[in-house]
Amino acid sequence: MDKHRIGFIGLGIMGRPMAGHLLAAGYELVVHDLDRTAVDSLVAAGAKAAASPREVAQQTTLMITMLPDSPDVEAVALGEDGLIAGATAGAIHVDMSTIAPSVAIRVNHVLGQKGVRCLDAPVSGGDVGAQKATLSIMVGGDQATFDEVLPIFRVMGKNIVLCGPAGSGQIVKACNQVLVAVTIAGVSEALVLGAKAGVDPLKIVQVLSGGLARCGILENRGQRMVKGDFAPGFRLRLHHKDLNIIMRTGNDYQVPLPVTSVVHELFTAAMGKQRGELDHSGLLTVLEDLAGQEARTQPTTEA
């Protein structure tokens, strides 16, 4: 099969390195973003720029979107100058943004009526995963389309799973965000408890990382959290946005999420304290404020 000519819309912290990998792998790329600098850097690397999503769709057979939120995806896919206005029957749209499952299903349905094949394929792994092409990609859609796009996914990610029909990728991503949020809250409470009781939180991170409580947050973020390093990574405000979606999704499916709901409110408190630009592990600071205790390692006690 001939190689797809790929369109890429949304060249932010995630999209820019992802698009870069596709260029490096030899794909022809047509890009679009409102940020001129991001577009220029990819054009310099060999991509072609298009003025609108419609123009991207007119020039490509496979279109990838990587955008902040549901309304952005709706506008880019279905808006007046959107993909739908330029895409031909048989083309493929892969949305790699994290958005509401209900919106993903609707967008897929509307594009599907035009003969466009759709996958929802949100990712996990953050900016580091995007740069290293080690993203986890959770995909919703049909097997044939998935098989066709798989070589392209492999350029950007490692752990790539077809989870089920349209919307399934977003559902699994929502499950991922539930688990990560609750884990951050749990790690934060443990660190504050230990610190206030007089234990160096760095020791807690080191010990627990080997036990039953080991997890991605302790492993990737624990050392930085106890040093007060909350440079993003994945911004807290974006996780808060995801939790908004998740709570609505829980209501849609009538699944009570009592634990997530309280964690969601802690994220809301962090937003109220203007901490949305911190890494999501900055949720620690909310628990610290409640306890009147910072969970910081003391350099003097470090081995």
């Binding site: 709570m247 699944v255 009570p256 309280v262 809301t268 408190a269």
Partner: protein, 302 residues
């Protein structure tokens, strides 16, 4: 100038469980009334039989009224009856007033008020608390947002329907106050449910416990009201779980807007989610106890 039955014609849109008795109280106070309801119900006929004039659309109601009151279910309903194609906005004359007594989003309220203001129509948001009984007896608590002079002018109209009538601030403030009411109400409900659950699971006679604590520092309107209902296994609404959930969503949305955490509300919202999942969304809010009974396999009811 203050409203009087001689000088002020009133329109009323939405003759539901709350709206019909409220409209009847306005008739009783001597006001001329034009009314509209989406569907024809015996309730509507009764209000018409008591002297109200039936109109074909909200627009027609407003065209015959100096003050138009809306009392419908949710934000989209209010948008439809006020801003819709046959909405109040197309019938109301400049200088008229709209009073929305539904419980809806403060944000949407401010948007609707701004649209009406473009036509020279004033708006008060005036949601109520007190339930069907309060509507019938004319004893509702009414919390009002909007301009002071509009509030003062409309006060006699509100006094025909309620007792505790407080002007809390600018447009949207009435709705926000109502959401505060829902916060306290829902968490009171949760408190009653947990207390009765502990009593029952410990093998105590929940009836006696309720009797003992109702008069003390933990006593509340909610406890006195729903406590006996729970113990009697009476889950008829009062106030339906589905509507409570609609209000709690508005609470969380409004709290989100100002960045304040509501861990208690979010938890009770999820407990009600479990009640809805069990197919009990049309029961009264006292059915919250069933979320606990489902977890523990113990009935709190004596």
């Amino acid at each position: 100038m203050q409203a009087t039955p001689q000088t002020t014609r009133i329109g009323f849109v939405g003759l539901g469980i709350m709206g019909a008795p409220m409209a009847t109280n306005l008739l009783r106070a001597g006001y001329r009334l034009a009314v509209y309801n989406r569907s024809d119900r015996p309730r509507v006929d009764a209000v018409v039989a008591a002297g109200a004039r039936r109109a074909g659309t909200p627009r027609e109601v407003a065209a015959n009224a100096d003050v138009t009151i809306t009392m419908v279910t949710d934000t989209p309903d209010v948008e439809e009856v006020i801003l819709g194609r046959e909405g109040v906005i197309h019938g109301a004359a400049a200088g008229a007033t709209v009073i929305d007594m539904s419980t809806i989003s403060p944000r949407a309220t401010r948007r609707i008020a701004a649209r009406l203001a473009e036509r020279g129509v004033a708006m008060l948001d005036a949601p109520v608390s007190g339930g069907e009984l309060g509507a019938r007896n004319g004893t509702l608590a009414i919390m009002v947002g909007g301009a002071e002079e509009v509030f003062t002018a409309c006060l006699p109209v509100l006094e025909a329907m309620g007792k505790t009538i407080i002007h809390v601030g600018a447009s949207g403030a009435g709705q926000t106050a109502k959401l505060c009411n829902q916060v306290a109400g829902a968490l009171n409900n949760l408190a009653v449910a947990e207390a009765l659950m502990l009593a029952a699971a410990s093998g105590l006679d929940a009836r006696r416990v309720l009797q003992a604590i109702s008069g003390g520092a933990a006593g509340s309107w909610m406890m006195s009201n729903i406590g006996p209902k729970i113990l009697a296994g009476d889950f008829a609404p009062g106030f339906m779980v589905d509507l409570q959930q609609k209000d709690l969503k508005l609470v969380l949305e409004a709290a989100n807007d100002v960045g304040v955490a509501m861990p208690g509300v979010s938890l009770v919202h999820q407990c009600f989610n479990a009640v809805q999942r069990a197919g009990l969304g049309r029961e009264g809010t006292q059915a919250l106890i069933k979320a606990y009974e489902m977890q523990h396999g113990v009935q709190a009811r004596a």
